[in-house]
Symmetry: C2
């Protein structure tokens, strides 16, 4: 018995494409299924100005295979020195679709992030005026805050004060990992959205730490206990337009994952749509997949839903995904859900 599902072509509202050889290797993995993606600006050095975003977009389009269509939605990395006028100009030209807030030290290449939130107030006020969304990595980085509490503490100490001070600012809580995040996003009104990754719908912290340490399951924010994973599942499959897909697909070579201090990130670009079909089917919510992957994101960003479609097919034999993809820098392990998946994009 074959089952199939055709949906508007999806977008990825949180994606790491890197640069150079790695960009070349991972871009087709996303462009094969996704029409657009919000492109993370945490390169070294980060993408801070409109000019840097334009140059990065050019490099992405140059790396795109001729037979593929894909639109990178560019994002500026917010620093304490960001110029509100440059942000406004980059938005007015249609180039930049969001600004990203990294608390300093929160994740890969976030050293240039914000320490003093007062310093970025003028930028946030400009963004609120022009309707440019702020994408937020929602974790405090204080050493004395337990890593599993950092999302909830960020909401209380940073996010809620920012939103109260600038209620018109549109904010995306990226890669939420807790019930606290779900609850806050749900109650936040039309100016607040939240992305959920593929892997956080599948793994909890036991997958990282029980029976051996598994660096390929390690990302930031780190996966939490099972009750939080279940809250994410419920949110993603609920049909609530607050929640949409942002894979946070983040390629690191195996050499950089299997280190004494291994890099944070799961690479899910290759098999995300098949995994999501599995997850939504398991929760009896296949009819909600299109909203989550293809409709709620464009609605939040004020963009049209893609006109083309993809078809997901469920087969009788398990889909074989590549275990790794080759990059110029070394192999990158594809996220392994740990169970057979019978869906594929056809």
């Amino acid at each position: 018995m074959t089952q199939s599902l055709t949906i508007a072509r999806p977008d990825d509202w949180h994606l790491h494409l890197r640069d150079g050889a790695m960009l070349q290797a991972v871009l087709p993995e996303t462009a094969r299924h996704f029409a657009r993606a919000i492109i993370m600006p945490n390169l070294v050095p980060p993408v801070v100005t409109g000019a840097q975003a334009a140059a990065y977009k050019d490099r992405i389009m140059t790396a795109l295979p001729d037979d593929m269509s894909f639109e990178p939605l560019m994002v500026l990395y917010l620093t304490e020195d960001t110029d509100p006028a440059d942000v406004a100009a980059a938005h007015a030209s249609g180039l930049v679709k969001a600004v990203k807030l990294y608390p300093a030290g929160a994740t890969t290449n976030s050293a240039s992030g914000v320490q003093n939130f007062d310093k970025v107030r003028p930028v946030l006020e400009t963004m609120a005026e022009i309707g440019l969304p702020l994408c937020v990595h929602g974790e405090v980085t204080n050493h004395d805050v337990d890593i599993f509490d950092r999302e909830a503490v960020f909401i209380d100490r940073v996010l809620d004060p920012i939103r109260k001070a600038t209620p018109e600012l549109r904010v995306v809580m990226e890669h939420i990992t807790t019930k606290d995040g779900v609850d806050y996003a749900k109650s936040g009104g039309d100016n607040l959205g939240a992305t959920i990754t593929t892997h956080h719908l599948i793994i909890n912290r036991n997958h990282i730490l029980a029976g051996g340490i598994k660096p390929h399951y390690y990302c930031l924010p780190v996966a939490k206990r099972e009750q939080h994973r279940l809250a994410l599942r419920e949110a993603a499959t609920s049909g609530d337009k607050t929640f949409f897909l942002g894979t946070d697909s983040a390629p690191h070579t195996d050499a950089n994952k299997l280190l004494p201090c291994g890099c944070a990130g799961c690479f899910t670009a290759t098999n995300t749509m098949a995994l999501l079909a599995h997850v939504f089917e398991e929760d009896g919510a296949l009819d909600k997949l299109e909203g989550f992957a293809s409709k709620h994101g464009p609605a939040f960003y004020g963009l049209p839903v893609n006109e083309d479609t993809i078809t997901l097919t469920k087969n009788e034999t398990a889909t074989v995904f590549p275990e790794k993809i080759e990059s110029g820098d070394g192999p990158v392990t594809v996220f392994d859900p740990g169970f057979p998946v019978f869906w594929d994009v056809t």
Copy 2:
């Protein structure tokens, strides 16, 4: 200014020596400072019978350098097929000082462990009669129990029922990692003791997971949140004879630590006494170090305190420990406390 402290030579009440080339490499690291150690029996295959323990003890003594003195205190690995008469004979001969309970699947080489605790009741009753302690890896292994809850759940579901059914059984809660473990051990009376590792006094779970994943800090039971580390510090430095040192020093080659599924264990044999002096000084409890490292353990096991001594000296320059030791199988990383230590054994 030089500060020094002379204490009875310490013992290690929980140690992994492995076998073959690894045994040869790590044994001197322990024997240099420690007079005796409780030797974990989780080899492949495990040390289950008195005859196997005798053969393993011979291999350890053969591996011991001629200029070192050291007494391995042998332990039998409890399985559902363990013969009470063999255990009693191995104890009567003076060879075996404890029996180890691993819940099946709890840690490195624990596949032969106990699944059905009713099956080991006759052995436990024999042990209670002859006064032979049971050393317990206190974690349930159920997939549906969060890894950070597994110690507390083990106490409720397994340990407390065993102790109520066999109140005369002497039990060591090994490598406790939670305030729950501390509280249970404290209230358990004279038949209950608990070991604490060096690394659990120093790291919490943020050390493993914040700012990158650090396999060399990964052990089982995994380090918990800061409030639990503080409870362990308080217990170890309190002078309460319930608590004594069991390093759980567990060598794995770097190749086996830095894997997609890396092995559990921290190797602390080399620098444990210097680290403990640092920890106890920091907590204003240097006068309690001898009890924790040299006196409470022998008292629990009914053995004499060692007659020889070691002297710990605090210098003005930080002690340089080897970053790794060489084993026949590859380098083994020595536990890095992440701060300078000025103490050393002289």
